[in-house]
């Protein structure tokens, strides 16, 4: 916050929240959220349903007033400069809807008008965005006949139409078939890479977020419990690096190799005969070399900590436990 006062004009972060809080009566939907998303970044807001992801996005758009704290989008306050913020942000709502008795093109024409896109360029930009999401062929069909996935893609086109500098996508991959998910995620990635659009993507599906996001925030019960790149998240939860290693045959020889390796803090055996090795550094190369030197057949060698599944699960477990506790009290 101090860098805005003087000195060379550093661009403000695309999204910044300071102690952002939203309460509905007794319930705290978003609890003291501090978030910073740099320009051009793809940020994934990961959390279970009801964690406060949508509420956060609505506050960033000025559609819901914060109970406390503040938000900045492109350096603007969404509650005061709502119009300007909404001009810059393309928003794909959770379970997006369209006027069913109008065609996709007519729906987008309305959006274009609301964004004051000049009539002279309107047709061309609508055709471009429809092509970008692969809906050119269905452009003049009534949206009432669209599948969920097509509506979702039309929603992306709708958000893209205003040439936003920031996109906020609320659960964009829900209801889409796997192939559609991949296409959508590729589109999101290309927006960030080619058009320098900042993307804030909320999801409860880990693998999709992992595939496309530069950074991830894990959001549980209104609180941001972790925030960073996947590696950073892994380290934040657990400093040690866990490597899963397994060889053909019995593990006795492997166990002696592991015992002699430097940098290993603990070794535990997994159910399937493999070993989970906790180490100070990533020693996979050294480990592999030692195993080959001993003449063993290496079957498994994988770094466990880089997998978000475990982290995600662990964060959720703690949050769920805390939730149960608060509900019981």
């Amino acid at each position: 916050m101090t860098d805005t006062a003087s000195g060379p004009p550093t661009p403000p972060p695309a999204v910044e929240t300071i102690g952002l809080t939203k309460r509905y009566g007794e319930k705290v939907a978003v609890d003291n959220l501090n978030l910073r998303i740099a320009k051009g970044e793809v940020f994934g807001l990961l959390g279970p349903n009801g964690a406060g992801k949508t509420t956060t996005i609505l506050m960033l758009l000025g559609l819901s007033e914060p109970s406390a704290g503040e938000a900045r989008v492109d350096g603007l306050d969404p509650t005061r400069d709502a119009i300007e913020v909404k001009r810059r942000v393309g928003y794909l709502p959770d379970s997006v809807g369209f006027y069913e008795n109008m065609s996709a093109r007519q729906n987008l024409e309305y959006t274009a008008d609301l964004n004051r896109i000049a009539r002279s360029v309107r047709t061309a930009s609508i055709s471009d965005t429809l092509a970008a999401v692969g809906l050119s062929d269905a452009a003049d069909r009534m949206v009432g006949g669209y599948s969920r996935g097509m509506k979702q893609r039309l929603g992306v086109a709708d958000a893209l139409l205003k040439s936003p500098s920031i996109m906020m996508l609320d659960e964009p991959t829900v209801n889409i078939d796997p192939e559609g998910v991949n296409e959508l995620l590729a589109l999101v990635r290309s927006l960030a890479d080619d058009r320098d659009v900042t993307v804030l993507l909320s999801s409860h599906l880990l693998h999709q977020v992992q595939a496309v996001c530069d950074r991830i925030g894990i959001f549980v019960a209104g609180r941001l419990v972790a925030n960073g790149s996947i590696d950073e998240l892994a380290r934040a939860l657990d400093d040690r690096i866990v490597i899963e290693v397994g060889v053909e045959g019995s593990g006795t020889e492997l166990r002696s190799i592991l015992a002699s390796m430097p940098g290993i803090t603990s070794v535990t055996s997994a159910d399937d005969g493999n070993f989970l090795v906790a180490a100070d550094a990533d020693i996979r190369t050294e480990l592999a070399a030692a195993i080959f030197a001993a003449g063993l057949q290496l079957q498994t060698l994988a770094r466990r900590s880089a997998e978000l599944d475990a982290i995600y699960g662990r964060y959720f477990d703690t949050a769920a436990a805390a939730d149960e506790k608060s509900e019981a009290s």
């Binding site: 300007e84 942000v89 709502p93 809807g97």
Partner: protein, 335 residues
């Protein structure tokens, strides 16, 4: 494109570009209304019953034309005369007009919610109040169009039947009447939009609107008569001066209660505007008319007489729309 946007954001707040969002909303809604089935159906119903009303009125006028040579504003009788149990045109509008308002308002906001278009709509660079204002303006525009067209057609048909040239005063009265009808239906539109904000389901909202319509148009006489009777019972006889006073008090109370209903206000003021021979909207005793000269009122005097009624309808519309507006602004975007 984004550079253009940044350049726009660089200066003072781009107020000019952010204003007038309601016009875009209204334009879309207006187009939707005009192409909707409900518009066609309602115009057909109102048009047919209006033609029937004016047709029977004109037959009546032709029959009594001989005696009525001295009467002023025969042309306007087309809208007020009601022989053969067919209601007059103005009471038809008073009765069916509310349906027009309800039809174009009852699902204004809740349909956006149920279709999932509301979050998308309010996340566009318009103010949130542009949505509800635009919808009200579009509804009012549709209603105005319907009433102006219908009244013109009906007036033209009546003119053809009775062949009386309307005076300029008659036209001013007719114009005022059309304006009054638009305001009156506008009240129902505001009520319906309020229901569409408060009630989440369109089906419930339309039922609530219909209930209000039935209570305020059909049953208001029954209900308010019973209330007046309970508070200020009317005597059985009017032999003494005291009993006459009581009867008058009962009648005054009932009229005052009736005036809660906008339909009553509308009926009173339409008659006053359309009939220059009416001199009061209240209770007139025969001794007050004694030796009064049956001189028609001028347009200004008639308008002056209905001013309180018109003000009350406008005030009701403003109150109802304000409730709709405020509750819409305070509602969460998410269901």
């Amino acid at each position: 494109m984004s550079r253009v946007q940044e350049a726009m954001g660089g200066g003072p707040r781009p107020s000019a570009a952010s204003r007038g969002g309601w016009r875009i909303v209204a334009r879309k809604e207006f187009a939707d209304h005009l192409s909707s089935a409900r518009f066609a159906i309602l115009v057909l119903i109102l048009g047919l019953s209006g033609l029937a009303a004016v047709n029977s009125a004109s037959s009546e006028i032709r029959e009594v034309a001989g005696e009525a040579t001295g009467a002023p504003s025969i042309f306007l009788f087309l809208f007020t005369v009601a022989p053969d149990r067919i209601p007059s045109y103005f009471s038809l509008v008073g009765f069916i007009g509310p349906l027009l308002g309800i039809a174009f308002g009852f699902d204004a906001i809740n349909s956006e919610r149920s279709q999932g278009t509301l979050p998308r709509l309010v996340s566009q660079p318009i103010h949130r109040d542009d949505v509800i204002t635009g919808k009200f303006v579009a509804g009012l525009g549709t209603i105005s169009l319907a009433i102006v067209v219908l009244t013109s057609v009906v007036a033209g048909f009546g003119l053809f039947r009775i062949a009386v040239v309307p005076s300029s005063g008659d036209l001013v009265r007719l114009f005022s009447y059309v304006l009054l009808s638009i305001i009156y239906v506008g009240f129902w539109l505001a009520l319906a939009i309020m229901l569409s904000v408060v009630v989440r389901r369109a089906a419930t909202s339309v039922l609530a609107g219909m209930a209000a319509w039935l209570v305020l148009t059909l049953f208001s006489g029954l209900i308010f008569g019973a209330i007046a009777q309970a508070i200020r019972p009317a005597p059985d006889t009017t032999d003494t001066a005291l009993e006459t006073e009581e009867l008058l008090a009962n009648a005054r109370l009932e009229l005052a209660l009736q005036r809660i209903s906008p339909t009553e206000l509308y009926n009173e003021s339409s008659q006053m505007i359309l009939n220059p021979q009416l001199r009061s909207t209240g209770i007139v005793l025969s001794n007050q008319l004694d030796r009064a000269i049956p001189d028609p009122l001028s347009v200004e005097q008639s308008l002056l007489l209905v001013w309180p009624q018109v003000t009350a309808i406008v005030a009701g519309t403003v109150v109802v729309f304000t409730i709709a507006f405020v509750s819409f602004m305070r509602q969460e975007v998410r269901a």
